[in-house]
Amino acid sequence: MGTSFGRGGATSFQQDWQNSDCILIEGSNLAECHPVGFQWIMEAKARGATLIHVDPRYTRTSALADIHVPLRVGSDIAFLGGIINYVVEHEAYFEDYVRLFTNGPSLVSEDFKDTEDLGGIFSGLDEEQRSYDPLTWQYEGEEVGAASGQREQLYEERNEEEGGEKSSGHRPSVASSGRGESHGSGGAAAHPNAVRDETMQHPRCVFQIVKRHFARYTPEMVEQVCGVPRDLFVKVCQTLVDNSGRERTSAIAYAVGWTQHSVGVQYIRTAAILQLLLGNIGRPGGGIMAMRGHASIQGSTDIPTLYNLLPGYIPMPHAHQDDDLEAFLKGVSTDKGYWSDMKGYLVSLLKAWWGPAATEENDFCFDYLPKLTGSHSTYETVMAQLDGKCKGYFVVGENPAVGSANAKMQRLGMANLDWLVVRDFGLIESATWWKDGPEIESGELRTQDIATEVFFFPAAAHTEKNGSFTNTQRMLQWHHAAVEPAGDARSELWFYYHLGRVIREKLSGSTDEMDAPLLDLQWDYPTEGTVAEPSADAVLAEINGWDADGRPLASYEQLNADGSTVCGCWIYCGVFTDGTNQAARRKPAREQSSVAPEWGWAWPANRRIIYNRASADENGKPWSQRKAYVWWDEEQSKWVGHDVPDFDPSKSPWHRPPAGSRGAEALSGEDAFVMQADGKAWLYAPAGLTDGPLPTHYEPQDSPFENLLYDQQRNPVRQVFARRHNRYHPNPGTRGSEAFPYPITTYRLTEHHTAGGMSRWQPYLSELQPEMFCEVSPELAEERELVHRGWATIITARGVIEARVMVTERMAPLLVQGRLVHQIGLPYHWGTNGYSKGDSANELTAISLDPNSHIQEVKALSGDIRPGRRPRGSAANDLVEDYIRRAGITSDTGMEVRGDH
């Protein structure tokens, strides 16, 4: 999302579905995982909209869908690519929209080679480093920075260009894993005459490249790869096309069904391209909704407890040759678009953290920021724990022993720690693995040999602390503390504030340079109540920021680069406008418009549909009277509409920036995507993604099928780890590949919540879904003698679990590449603790990551299934070893970069 449009968040809001003519849900099981959000889809259905659900299983969402398309797991790009092919071939795209708002007309440099030319890979692949060099993907004649994602890709080039004597040579600067990170990226000065062919006929213009790229994704190919009958596929395409254009809009909703793949980010890129071609972004009833699974996942990426981001999607600096603030900003900010004010945002952040200590002279304490050397995602951390290089671990409101991929490695990693702090409501599996984990049962670990000190802190519930969640539509909502937490239960706010206080007390007086960042830290928040809970309002006020004389800021445009303003997170600037907590606004829905702007606060600047400038044409008139959202009002000469315009309100549609202007001024009246370096939505991503400017179908890491579209079997730059407990399955067609014949997908149920920490301890929820089960088709049950309500054992190269058997017609076998394939469905909520117990599906999953987001591939793997319960104790591991031997798996199975099948 960030790379295509400029911001990493849903483009619309759930209530907007009521205006959709057609809703495509794929990679999400909305009715089960977001039931209350589904009411808005019911509103659309009540008004005549068509609901399409594409999912390997027939779920409760499919039960309410008008069209359900069962799909082979891991083949979504082939499916969406096929729709793009259909849209382009039948010239059903919204041509004016594409020309106006996307980089369709922009020309790409000659030295870009597409997957068509290189048999499945792009130009610039460095096989030894397992990464791409995006230099060859650039537009013709200029380097363009990405608004998000890997923004440091052209760091050296850019600094070298600008008198790069400072950065000597082009030595590979950091460790091989995550090499993609090391490149810098940045905005090029947006030459007014950026080469564009408005007719979009030029062979090297983005639109033609997209057309050629998806030419091979024909309906017949879709039938072969995805197992979707050709006529049904055409029906889906035609339905989407009929419901797009000036008069109608279609919406797409996805969730981890798309993200949790080794090509996850590219899934979303394909959907972005499709929605841009159909002209659905920024318009009422259109957009792409990312349905997040946790109360504040969007919040935890906006204000990220993530390794690669600072608050507001400012990238964490990488380690470069003697870098400083200027070099960093040159490397990552863009010349055009709001990202060009990066300095203002970053400096305000550094002032918020180190206050008076951050001065012009010391680069506002830029040096205090630790620097990255590649990817440090949670799975790299587990490897570091296993290698003894990471000894302390905080697990806060998460349950990796059940929720993370390859649960065994998670627990073995934790067994290698010096100390572990777990904060949760109850004794989850991640807190008690040393006492009753599967490894204790199998004898791999013995409690008395485990040296890890484990602290368990009871956590406060949402009703016992003040704070804000950011929901899936970028809306901050404040929840008030109803009562004080009982016993020693405390909120994380309390825990980290007091931990910081104790640490600073222990270091007071230290002159060691190492402790300077801690001692200079602005850490004095007012505390209240009998438990000395720090004031969440004060923290939100700091996030919102204030100006030189302490007045709360109202918008990120007010942020200065001279250190006079303070702001914890620039995209949240405005949440405390005129001193009131906007997130706590509760104006009832019936007293305001359907957009309901006065309930809570949405970032950026309380816009509910972002990029809404695109809902009006080149003259500022809505594309059609029935889909009007934001339009140009000639008398008031400003943008008006149902929502806060995602555009400079006073900039007319005909405005053309003077040559050489920078930043926001450089945006023309037609640049609806104000965060992008060229103000346009990216069909083609010249930078920002490590695995290619255009989405390409690759088979999942573990797949029983060969990639029919290209010779390249898997994503060449996926992140893989050759480890003893992380073996991958052999390529299809090779010796031993028949050991794991069945595709498996994991998913959630309405009644439980992710790793079960907040649902398996509740009797009311556990009785609704009491035991771990697997869903199989009647044919598979017959083939493997599985007994309905009996037990089954499921095996992969990583582990073995048992599950009750649910034989159901809803798991339709599919005809893929000429053979009948039976898919297995596994919910992943269960674990060894809690009121309702069971085996965890994540014992089976491998760690193979998407190179951009480092998310694990648990939605598409392969495995074997047999009747009966699994062996106990060490016999379970023996069974896995036996399978590994029979499949001829070695340490480099499935590790290849370039590899046909």
Binding site: Q39, S296, K391, F455, E492, L493, Q762
Partner: protein, 143 residues
């Protein structure tokens, strides 16, 4: 009655939390919310049991190295012990630079979790961890 938001998924349903003499007695949907219009899913409806059920632990537990079971310790002692360990491990794994490039960080401490927490909590965590030099900070956004 206090206005709140459901802690489970990201739809962000409004919740009304009813309190009677210092105890949460009932939680139901907030009809004013434009997103949820007073409705809840099974998990949201079980929020009362989540927050007041007897499966909630209320005391701090500590497991000594090689110990076979928990022991209860008081909160402040635990806080002090954790602070000690953070400083010890931070120092033990401190790196000023890698391959000649300044990094100023510790690779010894990692953190996982954040998507179920408030924005303010995520903010303090990122602020403190960054000041400590810890960079292996992750949450469910990536799981």
């Amino acid at each position: 009655m206090v206005k709140s938001v459901c802690p489970y998924c990201a739809v962000g349903c409004g919740q009304n939390v009813f309190v009677k003499d210092e105890r949460v007695v009932h939680i139901e949907g907030d009809p004013d919310s434009p997103v949820s219009r007073g409705r809840l899913c099974p998990k949201g409806s079980a929020s009362l049991q989540l927050t007041t059920g007897e499966t909630r632990r209320l005391e701090v537990l500590y497991r000594a190295p090689y110990a076979s079971d928990w022991e209860v310790i008081d909160l402040d002692t635990a806080m002090d012990m954790v602070a000690e360990r953070v400083l010890r491990t931070r120092r033990e794994f401190w790196q000023w630079d890698v391959e000649g490039k300044r990094v100023r960080r510790t690779m010894g401490i990692a953190s996982l979790g954040g998507a179920t927490l408030d924005n303010e909590e995520n903010y303090l965590m990122k602020k403190l961890y960054t000041a400590l030099g810890a960079i292996q900070i992750e949450n469910q956004a990536r799981i």
